[in-house]
Symmetry: C6
Subunit: 80 residues, 6 copies
Amino acid sequence: MSNTEIWLPSLITKTPQEGRALAITMARKTIGAIQTDPEKRKQMRPEYADDTAQLISSAQVVAIEFQTIAKANKYWRNEK
Amino acid sequence: MSNTEIWLPSLITKTPQEGRALAITMARKTIGAIQTDPEKRKQMRPEYADDTAQLISSAQVVAIEFQTIAKANKYWRNEK
Amino acid sequence: MSNTEIWLPSLITKTPQEGRALAITMARKTIGAIQTDPEKRKQMRPEYADDTAQLISSAQVVAIEFQTIAKANKYWRNEK
Amino acid sequence: MSNTEIWLPSLITKTPQEGRALAITMARKTIGAIQTDPEKRKQMRPEYADDTAQLISSAQVVAIEFQTIAKANKYWRNEK
Amino acid sequence: MSNTEIWLPSLITKTPQEGRALAITMARKTIGAIQTDPEKRKQMRPEYADDTAQLISSAQVVAIEFQTIAKANKYWRNEK
Amino acid sequence: MSNTEIWLPSLITKTPQEGRALAITMARKTIGAIQTDPEKRKQMRPEYADDTAQLISSAQVVAIEFQTIAKANKYWRNEK
């Protein structure tokens, strides 16, 4: 992830499902900001994708990120 | 989970109990978005379903997702 | 837990202490929704009830569920 | 903890420090509701009190409980 | 930590950075309330200060405590 | 991190992406406040940067810090 790449212009998404996708992106970008070597990240993938405990921890990160995104989008309730 | 499937049109549910079910679905969909191989997910099931520590971690993910859903539904208090 | 059982008609409780009990129920119901075999759940009980790390993780789930319930009940402050 | 004991009549405390104490009590009561044998709880104490990882996890439970209590007390800002 | 010591008169701080320091103090006081022996706490320090997993868990406790403090201080936005 | 360094004058950032960067800084500063030896921190880096479970836990800390920052910035919705 080049430091100049604008990947998060806004927290606003059209739908909750797009909000879920953004939450996953946000979590992944944090991992990329800590482990900046894409090749290493690729090699490490099976360590978490095939490990239920780490899949559950990953789901927890996404749940927290989504909580923030849902609030930013006023829960997509389309209220004024 | 095909990428085009609309599974989360809204966070609004009729009852708290439906909100619980949606929270579990949201957590499961995240796992499916990370480990996209349904066969692998099926084989891994006993690893968490028979492991109390992972059952507890799973319950934590659901609690966070439900927190978001409950807020979106104004706690089903039926206030205007 | 039969799927048709209505166990969560509302998040509203009379007192904070009832809210604590509901939070524990909500956490337990999630475990039951993931590990649906009551006999297995019964056998697994010592694994977490006699393990301090898992007791602490369980307390964390209850704390998150209670946070949602307390908010739903406006912290039982009896304000209009 | 006898089931009839009223230990949480309210979330309101006079000061933040009393709020901290209540948060610790709430976390401990949850442990007591899951592991109901006081003798077992006493024997298990060194397992977490002498284990930094479990002390940190316990601090996390208290932080979440306190977050709820602080909100209930409007952060003791004494605003109307 | 003598039980009569008033260490948390308020959650209000002048700046976010003071809020961070208070969050760390609050987390440490919880550890002190559970493991009351200062000598033991001192001996245990390397166990977490030299262990990345426990440093990360500690950072999580501080992040939750800070979330509460930031809200109490209305995010230091100096709005009326 | 010298104790007199002002690194967190405010939680306000221009964009969500700057908010992400601040969240990572806040998490790192907490680690630095607990493990104050920069040389040790540098040596420990591979322990978490090459460990998927610790990368995921780190992402969780950042998600919680970002939740606070996003709220402080009113989700960058530019509403009055």
